[in-house]
């Protein structure tokens, strides 16, 4: 029973950090920083997959979520502006 509790607490931590990262990605004006935060969110999901005993998904997710996805976004950012404009209030 204690094994399940430890597992779920670790899962809760991983998902909490992931949600906080997602919120910060949305609020971040610097798009490069937003990509790094989104990679951190992917790492948290990877941890969750590992805890849920899916090592096959972990191997694919770490390469796609942290490597490929981030770099494709960075390519996109390099074609536009790095900083989001602050809208008039």
């Amino acid at each position: 029973m204690s094994y399940v509790i430890v597992l779920e607490v670790l899962l809760a931590i991983a998902f909490t950090v992931a949600v906080i990262c997602t919120y910060m990605v949305v609020k971040e004006r610097d798009l490069v920083k937003a990509v790094v935060l989104s990679a951190l969110q992917s790492i948290m999901y990877t941890l969750a997959y590992y805890l849920l005993m899916a090592p096959d998904i972990v191997l694919a997710y770490v390469a796609v979520g942290v490597g490929i996805y981030s770099v494709v976004l960075l390519f996109a950012i390099s074609k536009t502006e790095r900083f989001e404009e602050v809208e008039a209030r």
Binding site: Y3, I5, L11, A12, A60, A63, V72
Partner: protein
Amino acid sequence: MRGTELIVVMCTVILIVAVTTAVIMGITAYTPGPEVRPLAKFYLENCLNLWNRAYWAASPEAVCSMLWDYRGIDTLYETTVFFLAIIGGVTVFRLIEVTPPLESLSEKIRRVLGLSVIVRTISKIVASIILIVAVAIAAHGHLTPGGGFQAGAAISVAPLMIIIALSRYFLEERKLTKERMLALRTVGLLTIWCTVIIPLIFALVGQVVYAMQNQAKPWTTFPGFPTGQLSTWIAGSLFIYNMAEFVAVGAGFTLLFLLLSLPEEVFREFMRRLTRK
């Protein structure tokens, strides 16, 4: 403004704590535990059952057996769809016939190619390690977690790093051009399809088989793919599928990165030349 953000963060944290507490107290039916459900039990008992080989896949890795044997057709069409997606990407870039030679680029573009010596050296070391790890993931795909797609996604990070740190010309000097990548991608997919069709050749000589059959079954007369010896266990066709998928996915992603990393100036120059004609 700060106050609203604080409230949002606080609400999120409270929500997460509440949901976690509810899950721990067992409000949802399923929590990952030591118990195994019937479907999982079937696969776990049969994927490497040496005593009753009626349903076996000759692989100790249940996930790989499912992907390439029990539910093989799913993966087959999935990898074909991925191939079509790559073809779509290539079609967008169809106007670019050849990469411009390094000398023809303006000084401004050449200056931004590649990063500092430290980054270049570290990238080379890390990229070679990634290559080894990816080959290991693919070659052990039928024994340990991993497999073709995972290894292909992992290996494509190496050319990606090289493109960023050393520019795409480093790859092109080593003959990793987009035409070769497309050829490799096609060879990978063709290998997969050929392996699917091999059992059907036995049907021509009167054997009872089905497409994508891996091991012999009691109700078919197909002898099955060789499983290898204990020290070099290749799990029948699973090894072939994994290696072919590894080549296909790795080459596919590398192809996309090669196309994405073309400097924008090159396109402008090309379009200018096109409109002048």
